[in-house]
Symmetry: C2
Subunit: 257 residues, 2 copies
């Protein structure tokens, strides 16, 4: 009998989110699943880690049984703490999600979901970020969860190079309308965001961010475009941010001191 | 007479930090400087933005005169709010820092300092992140500030392509010991971090992150290595995280649905 897989699950929507529950349910038949997730909503935290205050960990039950660990920190904190301290043995895989909302184009760098997977990769564990591309409150995570299981199996079979994270975005349409899976590049679409200036009951001003992603990409192999075509988008991402083409140009600048 | 430069300054150490004050002093002779910075320490926040609550802005005075805007948000929030709402005209340049501590190797993805510069770039403004590589409480920012001014002038002269940020790390040694400037790649060094488990006065457990960067890079043109050689490190970075070599490998996986 082969050893059962060990999978660490985290997210940025918090330990009580529907997307995380669906993911755990889909993975339980194939793996021992350990849940370590933020105790509250952590969207758009980027790759934040908590260094100036300590973290607290609380055991969370569901239906009277132990479900997982809630941490008063960020997604990256959760994965770090899980792998460094809470789990006796390193997991075979880290899966983050299923996020309630897409993580495509420039949003990838703001994404707490992606940051949890990135932290897994930094710690040497093959890692996947899963997102369902809708903010609809009653979103149906079932196909995304099923596909997360498929991805987990493929990653175990094929392996992932050190430093590569898979960023998966699943269109929020019924499974019958899914038109396949496409390997994509991160798109260039950006947010046309702005701050709405408002007045509180005491007439003091405050600012609230609002906006939407502006579609700038036309090519079929772009994450955002795949979603619009009802295709599942799988983008391999990595964390050497060096702008290689700029190196030589910069060497021609006069920077003597 | 040529129009005076307009420079937006932000950071992650907060509006009252010494590194920011040094930067503002060094830039004031060449530019109209607008300061929009977090009202508190925001290290290691990554590219966090605040979406689930509003932001408050407070005008801060220094020596009885208006100094800048303090925002109860992240570095990226500050730059977004400055450019979208607080500044009447877009600045010519965004400079973030001077950070108290290095932002090299994998730390780049955790860095609030870098995220402020990144946000500037996303909004179409040439941007620079400046860090002084020491945690010494009484660090001397004077050479780093002088070099920030040089960088500002060079970026204005040479321009930067859309999407490129310059991540500058200055060794914390006297100017006479600086051995030049080197254009570098982001290193592969990682943190050997772990959480120290402690007990609070009520005997409840808490976890506090500690660790140090493990030097994994030997090449001379790596950010972290330049610093060890007492050279200023200038790394061009960008935000397309796509792992291009992996695209073809992934296309060979069976991902039919």
């Amino acid at each position: 009998m082969t050893k059962k897989l060990s999978i660490l699950v985290s997210n940025d929507d918090g330990i009580f989110s529907d997307g995380l529950a669906s993911l755990v349910n889909a993975l339980t038949p194939i793996a021992d699943v350990t849940v370590v997730a933020p105790d509250s909503q952590q969207s758009a935290v980027g790759h934040a880690i908590t260094v100036h205050r300590p973290l607290r960990v609380r055991e969370v039950k569901k239906d009277g049984r132990f479900f997982g660990y809630a941490v008063d920190g960020t997604p990256a904190d959760c994965v770090k703490l899980a792998i460094r301290n809470l789990m006796k043995v390193k997991p075979d895989l880290v899966i983050s999600g299923i996020n309630h909302g897409s993580n495509t184009a420039i949003s990838v760098i703001y994404s707490g979901t992606v940051s949890a997977a990135t932290e897994g990769t930094i710690l040497g564990i093959p890692s996947i970020a899963m997102s369902l591309t809708t903010f609809e409150p009653n979103a149906d995570f079932s196909f995304a969860a099923k596909f997360a299981r498929t991805m987990a199996e493929r990653v175990i079979t094929n392996g992932l190079p050190n430093g590569t994270v898979l960023n998966v975005n699943v269109p929020a349409v019924p499974e019958s309308e899914i038109r396949g899976v496409v390997i994509t590049r991160q798109g260039k679409s950006v947010w046309n965001d702005e701050f709405e200036a408002r007045r509180d009951p005491g007439n003091k001003q405050y600012f609230w961010l609002k906006g939407e992603l502006v579609e700038l990409d036309e090519e079929e192999d772009i994450d955002q475009r795949a979603i619009l075509n009802n295709k599942v988008s799988v983008t391999p991402i990595q964390f050497d941010l060096t702008d290689y083409p700029m190196l030589d140009r910069l060497r021609s600048w006069d920077l003597t001191v």
